[in-house]
Amino acid sequence: MGWFTRKRKDAEQPETKEEVFIQCPACKAHIYKAEWEKNLEVCSHCNHHERMTCWERIDLLIDRGTFREINRRVTASDPLKFADAKGTYGEKIKETRQKTGLNESVVTGRGRINGIRVVLAVMDFRFFGGSLASGTGEKIYQAAAYALKHRQPFIIVCASGGARMQEGIVSLMQMPKTCAAIARLQQARIPYFSIMTDPTTGGVSASYAMVGDIHIAEPKALIGFAGRRVIEETIKQKLPDDFQTAEYLMEHGFVDLIVPRKEMKDTLHKLLKYCVAA
C-alpha cells in the first residue's frame, strides 16, 4: 500500500523531494506533483494511467455534489472464518477498513454525468486488490437493482485482481450473482457500461466486466483472465509485452473504446445520450 501513501493529497508537512516530485511507476520519470495531479495521475512522458482511488474516480466522472452513496454499510464478511499463515481474514478486514476508510472493494451510488442520472459502482484496488468478494458482489447486485428500479444507466469502473481467495467459493459465486444482476438490466433494456481500468483480471474479467453493452478501457490497462505467470508456465513461452493490455484486447475484439482519463467523462456522456431515451 506504499503507493497509496505516496499520492495522498492532503499532506501538510514541509515539502521534501518525495513530496514535490512523483516518480512514474512505469517509466520512472520524475514529474512535478502538481503537474501529475493536474494531469489526473497520468504520466506526461509515457501516458501511464496510475491507479486511482474510488473517490478520485468519482470526482473524475460524477458532477460535483451529485454523488450519493448507497449501501455504504455493507462490509466484508468472513463466511469461511478464513486464516492463513499470517493470521485471520477477520483481522485483515479490520486493518484494511481502517487503513482505507472503505468497507468493501467497491463503492456504489448514484449521481450525474453532465446532467444525466446514472448509477455507479467503482472498485478500489486498495481494498484487497479490488478483489471480488461477497460484500462486493452484494453491493454490485444492489446497485444494479437500484438502476433497474429507477431505470437509470449502470456503470461499473472495474479495478480488480479477481475473486478474493479468503472468501473461497462464496467469492466465486459472486460471478454468477453479479451476472444475474446484469441479466436483469439486459432484460429491461437498461444500459450497462463496463469501464476496465488497470487491472481487470480473473473473476471480475470473467463476469460483469465482460458483459457490458459498451466496453471502455483506460490506455494500457491490464485486462485478462489468467495471470501472466500462470500462462507462461502453461505454454512454456514468454508472452509479448503488449499481451493483455487494453490495446491488445481491442485488437482482439473485446473492447469498444480506449479512452484517456481526461476524456472519460465526456465520452461517457456522449455514449449515454445514445442509450437513454430523451
Binding site: 499463515a85 472468501e167 454468477p176
Partner: protein, 314 residues
Amino acid sequence: MYLDFEKPIEDLDAKIAELKAASSGTGAGPDPQIEKLEQERSRVLKDLYSKLTPWQTVQVARHPERPLLRDFIAGLCSEFIELHGDRHFADDQGIIGGFATIESHRLMLIGHQKGRTVEENLRCNFGMARPEGYRKALRLMRLAEKFRLPVVTFIDTPGAYPGADAEERGQAEAIARNLLEMAALRTPILVVVTGEGGSGGAVGIGMGDVILMLSNAVYSVISPEGCASILWRDGTKAPEAANALKITARSLLDLKVIDEIIPEPAGGAHRDPQGTMEAVKKALMKHLRRFQGLSSKKLAARRMEKFAAMGRYR
C-alpha cells in the same frame, strides 16, 4: 492405485490376496480368515472415507480412476447424440455436449471431459476448456431452451485453460457471457459437480437451478496449491489451504452454495462406478421430475434470486 492415506487398505488387500492365492485350488469352502479380513477392510475403508480431510478429498476427486464424463454418459444415458462446435471457431473437446436420454427424460447434457490416456488428454486438454468450449456449451443451452429441454451439466475441470490462445480469443468473455445467459435461460438447469470444480472454468457451466455434488468432489475458487503458494508463499501447504478454503461438499452445503450431496459408495466413486451411477441417476431423476413443466420465465427469475442470495450473511 492407492492414495497415500489408503495404506491400511493396501495392506489389507495384500493380505487378502495372499490368503486367496494360498487357498486357491484347494476347493475348500469360504475361508473364514479371508471373510474376516474382508469385513475388516470394509470397516476400515468406510471409516477412512468418512473422515477424509479436505486435502484427502482433493486427492479422491482427482483420482485417475474416478469416473469421467464419458463414463457417466455411458452409465446414465440410454442415448447420447453428441453435437459439435461453437459455430464460430472450433469444436473444443474440453467441454462436450449433446442430446441425452436418462430413463424417460430427454435433455441436453453438457460437461467437462477429462481424459485417461495421453491421447485423450491431448484431445480434451485435461478437461481445461478454451473459449470455444464455453461457447459451444452456450449454443447447446440455447438449443435446449428452444426445444424446452432441461439442461444438465457435469462439472469436472482443473479450471479454464490458461493458455495464450485462450486469452486471445476471450476466455474471460466466454465465461462471463455464459453466466449472463444462463441467468436468464428459460429452461431448467441442473448441475452436478462430479470431480474437480475448478474456479471460473467450473462455474462457467455451473449456474443452475439446483446444484448437486458428489460427496468426494471439490469445488473451489482456486486450487489448494495455488492458494498455498500465494497466501502461504509455500506450495506444499496445500493441505492447509484446502482446509481453509472450505472446498468439500459438506462445507459447500453449509454455505448454501450447493443444494444436495450425492453420497458416493464407500471407498469413493472410483471403487464402485456402478454404485455411483445409480446414486447420480437417482438424484437426477428426482430433480428432473421436480422441474418438469415448470414455467420457464419464473424459473429464470428464481435462478437469479438463488444466486443473489449467495454471500448474504447479514
